[in-house]
Symmetry: C2
Subunit: 250 residues, 2 copies
């Protein structure tokens, strides 16, 4: 009953999973939003089955778990009706409330709200990095400037908070929710014409934070090598995302 190590496609047969009350995690191997959930599952040491979904040719049966066909999704097999949750932040909040070991969200309503606003604000970085990453010929000439301006918010916030992590002296929810993109940023060096790297001065605090975070056990447990990100992104740029590239190399 082991799940094949591949991304399930249109026309595929739904994998049969053991009825063992273990969480079922639907994701795409390189999806940063899925990576958020992987970080929570690792931080809380929650056993789970992984099912990978091809996002171009989605399996017909996947809407049963995610009505809009998006990843990540997390199916709760231990609950009546085996409902599936979607939306990375909603899944993260659920896991943090349901499994209180190593709490990540602040218990203070105000700090929690401010952290959620900061995570929401990261959408600006997410949308600004795409035109840079993809070398899109239609990208605005100021794509890189927009990206850096969006990142400035986080550099400034880290200065304002004056702590090692966004979560304080311990890693918190903001750290893990934005980390997946920081793991991927070094690929810009290989996937931009100018070999872009984050400016060591402008993003001094963020770069220090990145080094610290890279040493975290949870981050390490979910890490993907930058060269693998580079290769996946290149396959995507060529219009043929090779979702299974991670498994082929193993």
């Amino acid at each position: 009953m082991s799940i094949p190590l591949k991304h399930f496609k249109k026309g595929s047969i739904k994998p049969t999973l053991p009825e063992d009350d273990v969480l079922r995690f639907y994701s795409m191997r390189f999806c940063p939003f899925s990576h958020r959930v992987a970080l929570l599952l690792a931080a809380k040491q929650l056993p789970h089955h992984k099912v990978y979904i091809d996002l171009i040719e989605k399996p017909e049966w996947y809407t049963e778990y995610s009505p809009l066909g998006k990843v990540p999704a997390l199916q709760l097999t231990h609950v009546a009706g085996q409902p599936a949750l979607v939306e990375s932040l909603i899944i993260a909040a659920y896991l943090d409330e349901q499994y209180p070991q190593r709490p990540l969200f602040s218990q203070d309503p105000l700090q929690k709200a401010l952290d959620k606003i900061l995570i929401e604000r990261f959408a600006g970085v997410v949308s600004a990095v795409y035109p840079v990453l993809t070398c899109n010929p239609n990208a605005p000439p100021d794509a890189l400037q927009n990206f850096e301006k969006a990142l400035d918010v986080f550099e400034q916030e880290l200065i304002k908070r004056g702590t090692r992590y966004f979560g304080g002296e311990q890693i918190g929810i903001v750290d893990y929710m934005i980390w997946p993109w920081f793991e991927r940023f070094p690929s810009l060096k290989y996937n931009t014409e100018q070999g872009y790297e984050l400016d060591a001065k402008r993003f001094q605090n963020l770069l220090k934070w990145r080094e610290l975070l890279a040493q975290d056990e949870t981050v390490k447990a979910t890490a993907t090598d930058v060269q693998l990100h580079v290769k996946f992104q290149q396959s995507k740029l060529q219009g043929k995302p090779n979702y299974d590239i991670a498994f082929q190399q193993q």
Copy 2:
């Protein structure tokens, strides 16, 4: 020190508000997302000052409270630094945690997650109603069908839940977070060529729910007459949203 009853514009001077530890609510009079926060403030009977913002010609000083210039924003004057919160759902969660009278979010992590997913899903209705509402000549010919399909999800969910409200036998967070659009839907009768009304059979449960909700004291306290919505929408269709129309009629 009373705040002028108008939408503050570019070039305006920031209103001076009393330093009385009362919440400050920044909104636009007809904004459904601001209406969400108004419902929470009314449900929990929280005193607040209202400051209205012109969303076309935004006052320069507004980014101090809402960095991206969006409404709603809620400034917490009783807290050190007087921070302002943004994003209607984040504000709603904060108010519900901070002011436990009449709790609206479920206390059960799973139900809470499912409710948040359902509210997130309402984005499909919000985006589908615009092409219908505005009689946009570039709207796809199936605009109305898309809108009804998006609403079907909520009709079906109400049947599935089998309760009077989305929140159960009491009004809950889903009810208030989607209500602002249901208050506005009757304006479709006046602002569409075909005089559109929700189908009495297809949306049987939703219409029953709408009648029930319309009788709620909190809903009544924040209600705007459909004819006023119609007039505002018409001013918007003409490219000149008349934000102050509600005050001019008083």
